[in-house]
């Protein structure tokens, strides 16, 4: 079998563009899913039955459905339900953000709940408002537990962006698979795709490990 690695070089710009889209998908999704997760967590912790019930259903639903199905659903079903046609990129972002928001909501909720009730009482006893207690006492402490999980969610998200390739968002996986089917250089293109993901993802995974070590809670 003759390998022609030059095909990878030949399509380098298309692959680079895919890389940019992949990174863009990750960043934009997180930028939506962090506030989304906080809002869902606060809804869940609120005393209002409706708000906490809604949040619970949302979180359990999207944590228990394969992301690839959410992507298809966002592509075929959402435009009809919501009535707006989104670009493929925006559709992909929507699906990813629904999924990651649900995970982040659990992360934030667990982080907030991990703080002992006595800490809240100590803050209240000083005369702080509930909001001040959340800002000065609960969140800073919860942060150390939340950061490592957010970091590993980030690493998973970076990989999961590849799933939006099925609706032809021009990310790395989509572009590489497209070149493969046009040039028939299957082994070269697929290996290149894997290596590029590896080169980008490996440092992120290591960074996530570092964050976990740095924030490790010692009691």
């Amino acid at each position: 079998m003759k390998l022609e690695w030059s095909v990878v070089w030949q399509y380098r710009w298309l692959l680079a563009e895919g890389v940019l889209v992949t990174i863009g998908l990750t960043i934009v999704t997180m930028a939506i899913a962090v506030p989304g997760g906080i809002i869902l967590a606060l809804m869940r912790l609120s005393k209002n039955r409706f708000l906490s019930g809604f949040s619970l259903c949302f979180v359990e639903l999207f944590r228990n459905i394969p992301l690839i199905l959410v992507v298809y659903w966002a592509f075929y079903v959402m435009p009809i339900f919501v009535g707006i046609e989104l670009s493929a990129f925006a559709t992909g972002i929507t699906a990813l953000a629904l999924n990651v928001s649900a995970y982040n909501a659990e992360t934030f909720r667990a982080g907030i709940n991990s703080i002992r009730q006595g800490q809240v009482q100590a803050g209240l006893a000083l005369g702080m408002s509930r909001f001040q207690v959340l800002r000065e006492i609960v969140l800073p402490q919860a942060f150390r537990r939340i950061m490592p999980i957010l970091a590993s969610t980030w690493v998973s998200l970076f990989k999961d962006t590849s799933l939006v390739s099925v609706i032809a968002v021009g990310d790395l996986a989509h572009n590489a698979l497209m070149v493969r089917s046009q040039t028939f250089r299957v082994l070269e293109m697929l290996t290149a795709m894997a290596l590029i993901y590896w080169a980008l993802g490996y440092p992120q995974a290591k960074l996530a490990d570092w964050i976990r070590k740095k924030f490790e809670v010692k009691e």
Binding site: A125, L126, R130
Partner: protein
């Protein structure tokens, strides 16, 4: 009743700073406080004693509205305790609270723990708050530990920081909930000494404690709780040397107290 005799002598010519009238507190079906009436005067050290689960902590948490009473009335300086959360915050500024488990904020140094109240609640400038906090830490004997995080302090040291944190709000009243129960025997003394100093300064303090020696030595007034009720109250000489009720005697002998 003898306690009333004591109270007449005690309260002569003064108005109580805190006055509980028939206070009740329920958790579901369980009645944690069942009609408690009690006066506390300015400058007094009042110790709450009694068996576990008798409602002592519940009294304290009700007093600063962390967990408000269900029924009855409490007057602070003659005006009833507020019910809304907003007013409750004002109330809590006037009372300092010290917890059994210290509840220092682990993400802040000792100094910052003492500063956090004045800075966030009273809007004091950081410089000013830091100056005051240094003085307070000096007062509790921790001038050399200001930059330590709670994890790097012993239990006794943590509790002294917690006392300084409460003092930083310049409260009219200090509430202690078993401040030495979580401590090693050798560090209990250092915390009790700080509390004794505060008592000698004439501060008003309510102390829930199992340290009978401290109660006997420092308290002006001792209240014995059992099953959500006050069984007996009086000066320490009465409670410890000449208890008037059988239940007080039982409780004390249970602790191995023989006068």
């Amino acid at each position: 009743m003898s306690s009333q005799v004591g109270q007449q002598i005690r309260g002569a010519g003064k108005k109580p700073i805190l006055s509980y009238h028939n206070v009740m507190k329920r958790f579901g079906n369980f009645t944690a406080l069942n009609g408690v009436s009690l006066d506390i005067y300015s400058g007094e050290v009042v110790c709450f004693i009694g068996p576990s689960g008798s409602g002592k902590s519940t009294m304290l948490r009700g007093t600063n509205a962390l967990d408000p009473f269900d029924e009855g009335q409490v007057f602070l300086d003659g005006s009833p305790l507020p019910t809304s959360e907003n007013e409750a915050r004002h109330l809590r500024r006037r009372m300092g609270m010290v917890f059994q488990n210290f509840e220092l904020f682990p993400h802040r140094t000792a100094l910052e723990n003492v500063m956090i109240g004045p800075v966030t609640v009273l809007g004091t400038s950081k410089d000013q708050a830091a100056k005051a906090a240094l003085k307070l830490l000096d007062k509790v004997g921790l001038a050399d530990k200001t930059q330590n995080y709670p994890a790097n302090l012993s239990g006794g040291q943590q509790q002294r920081v917690a006392i300084a944190r409460a003092l930083a709000m310049e409260p009219e009243l200090l509430l202690f909930d078993e401040p030495t129960s979580a401590l090693d025997p050798e560090t209990i003394g250092e915390v009790l000494n700080v509390m004794k100093t505060l008592a000698d300064e004439g501060r008003t303090m309510i102390v829930v404690t199992h340290e009978m020696n401290f109660a006997k030595r420092v308290a002006d007034w001792v209240v014995v709780f059992e099953r959500g009720q006050v069984v007996e109250q009086g000066p320490p000489e009465q409670i410890f040397d000449d208890p008037h009720t059988e239940r007080t005697r039982n409780f004390l002998s249970h602790l191995g107290w023989h006068g």
